[in-house]
């Protein structure tokens, strides 16, 4: 916006109050809230992760600086390494493979179908997205349970039941997260695919290009930017997933679904090691910050 309101002179010829002061007043409430509850905790994360802060006991009273002790302990902790690995598997399966690929496939298949059919499928997919995370967890716990719907179907077609949440816990939480998140990617890709000029596709088809060729040579290059941006955004959302896993498996059985948020929660609030928990959250935060910087770059916004 290039409007310069300070140069605006009213009928009476008096100059409006200086912009700078007004800007400060208007921006003050958001500055205060963001500094106290957003920037503050981020700085505290860095600070606390170098202390022996605990929730109970003598260490709760006096905080001591312990240097890199938390981080040394963390990198020595087999549980931490497991959590990093679990987080990568969860991100790869549910965000990149699941939401991103399935969302793109849905958007691609829905393009050009009958309006009424598109709408029905769209509503079903979006229903999973609108449903709150905790209810998503209930639906899937019931669906995958020993005597749940999936095993009922398996029995009906002559297969034996599987204890999904115990035998395949990671696959189970990934599927639930895909169910919850795919609609977002689908809507993003639908909007992006609508921007691909139909004349271009038709011309290529008339020239004898196969459907696959039209997709790889024309459609994909045009929506490339959206794919990158969406991938980072979905990765960031998936990185922060706590409720779904916590409700479905609690991170278990054992450590099989213990992603970094679950590990962080357990260390901080179950084992009462806030300092250690904060060090873990710093790792999450650093990954988040790096991904967010890529996100801003990929957006190519004009401000």
């Amino acid at each position: 916006m290039n409007m310069n309101a300070s140069n605006y002179v009213t009928k009476e010829g008096r100059l409006k109050k200086p912009q700078a002061l007004r800007s400060i007043v208007f921006l003050l409430p958001s500055w205060l809230l963001l500094l106290l509850f957003f920037v503050g905790p981020i700085l505290l994360t860095v600070f606390f992760s170098f202390t022996n802060l605990a929730l109970t006991g003598t260490q709760a009273q006096n905080i001591d600086f312990v240097g890199f002790q938390n981080f040394a302990a963390m990198f020595d902790d087999a549980n931490f390494r497991i959590s990093v690995l679990k987080t990568i598997v969860f991100l790869f399966l549910s965000a990149i493979i699941g939401q991103q690929v399935l969302g793109f496939l849905l958007a691609l298949l829905m393009k050009g179908r009958k309006q009424s059919f598109r709408r029905i499928i769209g509503i079903i997919i979006i229903a999973g997205w609108v449903t709150p995370e905790i209810v998503v967890a209930f639906c899937w716990v019931a669906f995958l349970n020993d005597s749940g719907t999936l095993n009922m179907i398996l029995n009906a077609i002559g297969l034996s039941a599987v204890t999904w949440l115990y035998t395949f816990p990671m696959i189970s939480v990934c599927i639930a997260n895909i169910w919850h998140g795919t609609a977002f990617s689908m809507m993003v890709f639908q909007a992006s695919l609508d921007d691909v000029p139909t004349e271009l596709e038709e011309a290529a088809r008339i020239d004898g290009a196969s459907k696959i060729k039209v997709l790889t040579k024309i459609v994909l290059p045009i929506v490339k930017g959206t794919i990158v941006t969406n991938m980072i955004l979905v990765t960031l959302q998936t990185l922060g997933v706590f409720t779904l896993i916590y409700t479905m498996t609690g991170g278990g059985p054992g450590t099989s679904t213990q992603t970094l948020p679950i590990f962080m929660y357990n260390q901080a609030f179950v084992n009462y090691q806030l300092g250690y928990g904060t060090a873990i959250s710093l790792v999450l935060l650093v990954i988040g910050i790096i991904a967010s910087l890529f996100y801003i770059r990929s957006m190519k916004v004009q401000i």
Binding site: N4, Y8, K17, S30, F48
Partner: protein
Amino acid sequence: MKKIKLEVAVPYIILSVIGVCFLLPLLWVIFASIDENAQQALTLPDKITFTNYTSILSDPANIRSFMIGLGLSLGQSILVVVVGVLAAYPLSRYTQKYKKPFMYTILFMTSLPITAVMVPVYQLFVFLNLQDSLFGTMLFLTASGLPYSIWMLKNFMDSVPINLEESAWVDGASIWKGVRKVVAPLMIPGICTVAIFTFSMSWGNFFVPYILIQTPDKFPASVTIYQFFGTYGMVEYGKLAAFSVIYTMPAVVLYLFSQRFMSQGFSLGGATKG
């Protein structure tokens, strides 16, 4: 001929199969909620009853948790919109040096996972003596929703022409009055989108109140339903399903309502955070 027909049919078949897979887990919660003898597997109820609903709604503790959730989310939405509109005004109307880095910081904040800061936020709440305070929780939720709302509201405000405002000033209106009487009414679709989005995010948020609130009497619906699941989840399927449906309703209704404002479709330009 046959080959062409197959080519037309395949996408419909694939989409139908995916659709059924997505529908099945959801159908359970709906059927079980109206079935007195609900089991974990999906079954058609013998007869439709609403006893599950009445039993959830007749518990004053559940009603209280719905009210707390409503107050928390509504309060947060109002604060986010008011503070967001205030911040968006100078960012949209004035040219200033710090504007560009500020907007980049805001965009950056929209995508950071809140989960990562919850441990220090808990510590901060203990330090400020705000732990177990619903008001404090609302302020934190407001701050976490602000980056997205400032970003969206600034973009919406950019599309409101300044001439209308100028004529209001000529008529003697103050800047603040101009915002309230001219800019805000023209931004109603944008304000509603932000308010609905904020409300839904807050209503569905379990982690933040679960960490910051300790007294069961103060739990919003998201935490109460989790407690219910922990206590009766493996026995009272029908009631859990009914509780889930009631709890999901506001999100569904608001989503349908928001469709009226989001006619231009779903584009990444708005930094949408799901």
